[in-house]
Amino acid sequence: MATLLEQVEPDAGQPDAGLQPEIVGRNPWALAARRLRRNRIALAALILFLLIVVISFLAPVYAHDVAHISNPLGPNLNGTTVVGGKVVPVMQQGTGGLHLGETPIGPTWDLHHYFLGADDLGRDVASLLLYGGRSSLQIGISSAIICCGVATLLALIAGFFGGIVDAIISRIMDIIWAFPVYLLAICIATELLTHSNGIPIGPLKVSADNLWVPTFIIAFAYVSYVYRPIRGQVLSVVRKEFVEAAIAQGASNLRLMFSEILPNVVSTVIVLLPLMIATNILTESALSFLSVGVQPPNVSWGVIIGDGEDLLYTRPWVSLAPGIMIVLTVLALNVFGDGIRDALDPRAKLRVDG
């Protein structure tokens, strides 16, 4: 790979300081890392995202130790909690003569007792928020990794071998992409969920509320989206001279694909990864909102928003809080993704500053 030469300030202590500046070559990855380090907004976004991830994965710690709830995902219709020193029931009787209907309590803004109030099953919304974050992030991140990984592999094979292999794979990808993305995901999810005894995959039976089901559905829906730009990149790299040189050296196909082409394609994938995590989190929340994503008893941010629909005008925080979390997470990912793209852009040095 080519290296870019850079001027480095000479060491003041050297005997011949000031006579000859030292020229140090740095490879593009180090340069990109340096550009990224200087981009404070992108770093702030990354820290925000990591913060959200850490807090979400500490959900059990919050639920058990801070809020003292033994079963955060289970219904708690008859429970009580302490508000301002007084013991109140979680589900409050409706006001009005007949005491019909129950309303869950609203936010108490007390971290130890139903910080954001309760949902219609009496569960602590704050705990649900963290558990939901764990599910949403797990699904978003793993489906993005699977999606990008599979798409890269297919793009490498298609771009490298070309000809009929390329034609077949690309056509299949086009057909998958022609299917409206959300509809495809919703159709598959709906069908899989009708198998109430578990989804038969070969000899295994995967239970319908396993988080890997939405993960693979979403990964499948977006594979063709990621495949296209990577394949374009592979095609342009395959023509370069160093590949020809490697072939002349007698490199095997495998080595060509993974040692010569892949490293040059990887920057495209790195830029796509945070954006795909963001997209997948949004898609997962949409599917869960429509009840075809994460299934009970698991929760995700989309599920909480969906559950909060009925309580929207009385207890708006049930729907507001997960939405705010989604916006913050996706925003952070997008800003960080922008930062990575700017850092890896080979034309960054030539670009007019702005």
Partner: protein, 323 residues
């Protein structure tokens, strides 16, 4: 050029065929759904069930069933819904289409105008504080889940603030057709339009701004300036026109996707009974004929939009045409 169009048309037909096959395979044999029983209703005798099976060809081999369904969908147009007894599917989709089209067209007009304005403003105002400010708003726009934005909009407009002059003009959730009452049609669609376009404005403003900035550095812009053209002329006649190519092709794809079923979330949140809403209902009741019809409707629009965009792109940019 002609061969290009013909090839695209054939490809479109092939894709439609594959999509219908895939949908059929996904849903034909879902456990718990017996179409004959659904059509016949409860407490029907085995004879009636057998008759219905014969009539609808439900005891024939799968490929025949598929062909029968395609025939009744496209040729006879008398495809009957599995879950709503006796309801003809094709007219149902036809009746739901105006709602979806109103929603998507209105939102599209808003998002194109605002996105172009925002993108141009951000590119022109580069270096001032307004550029990052506009881009942050754009970024928030496409980081927001559209169904949540709709939920929040509902909360604000239908909830506590409904009785204030600010929002008292908002009708209850639902869609009234233009012919019934233009005023209600407009008032009922305004907030869904704004919600739906919020997402796309964010995306398109950023795309346009990036394109504009990229093209500002191109040689032909430098030539135009060197010729002595006024900056505004340079901007509009040279820079904008080229930036719009990407904008237009992305717009075509997104518009097609929205009509094709991407609006499902907005329709569900706002209670607009369009094609997306119909699809959602059909999916929850596993009503295969309706699902088939709505997916065909959606896929058709998407593939049509893709083809139009590809042809248009080839027409606009001669470098892209296959030789």
């Amino acid at each position: 050029m002609l061969t290009f169009i013909v090839r695209r048309t054939l490809w479109t037909v092939l894709i439609m065929f594959v999509i219908t096959v895939v949908v059929f395979i996904i849903f034909f044999k879902t456990p718990g759904v017996d179409p004959a029983r659904a059509i016949a209703g409860r407490n029907s005798s085995p004879q009636i069930l057998a008759e219905i099976r014969a009539q609808f060809g439900l005891n024939r081999p799968l490929p025949i069933q598929y062909l029968l369904m395609m025939k009744s969908l496209f040729i006879n147009r008398n495809l009957v819904s599995y879950s709503n007894q006796g309801v003809l599917v094709v007219p149902e989709v036809g009746a739901a289409a105006p709602a979806t089209l109103s929603l998507v067209f209105g939102a599209a007009i808003i998002w194109v105008i605002v996105a172009i304005a925002m993108g141009m403003a951000a590119a022109l105002l580069r270096g001032t504080v307004l550029d990052p400010l506009l881009m942050i708003i754009a970024l928030i726009g496409f980081s927001t889940p559209p169904f949540w934005a709709g939920t929040v909009a509902n909360l604000i407009s239908q909830g506590g603030l409904h009785n204030t002059p600010l929002f008292s003009w908002v009708p209850p959730l639902g869609y009234t057709s233009f012919t019934t009452s233009p005023s209600l049609w407009f008032r009922g669609l305004l907030i869904p339009w704004l919600t739906l376009s919020f997402l796309y404005i964010g995306f398109y403003a950023r795309v346009l701004r990036a394109n504009l900035i990229e093209i500002q550095n191109e040689d032909f812009v430098r030539t135009a300036r060197a010729k002595g053209l006024r900056e505004r002329r340079v901007l509009i006649r040279h820079t904008l026109r080229n930036s719009l190519v990407t904008f237009v092709s992305l717009f075509g794809l997104d518009f097609g996707a929205l009509v094709g079923g991407g609006a499902i979330l907005t329709e569900v949140v706002f209670g607009i009974h369009g094609v997306g809403f119909l699809t959602y209902q059909a999916l929850t009741s596993l009503d295969l004929p309706t699902i088939m019809a709505t997916v065909v409707f959606g896929a058709f629009f998407i593939v049509l939009a893709n083809a139009v965009v590809d042809v248009g792109y080839a027409w606009l940019d001669p470098r892209v045409r296959p030789n």
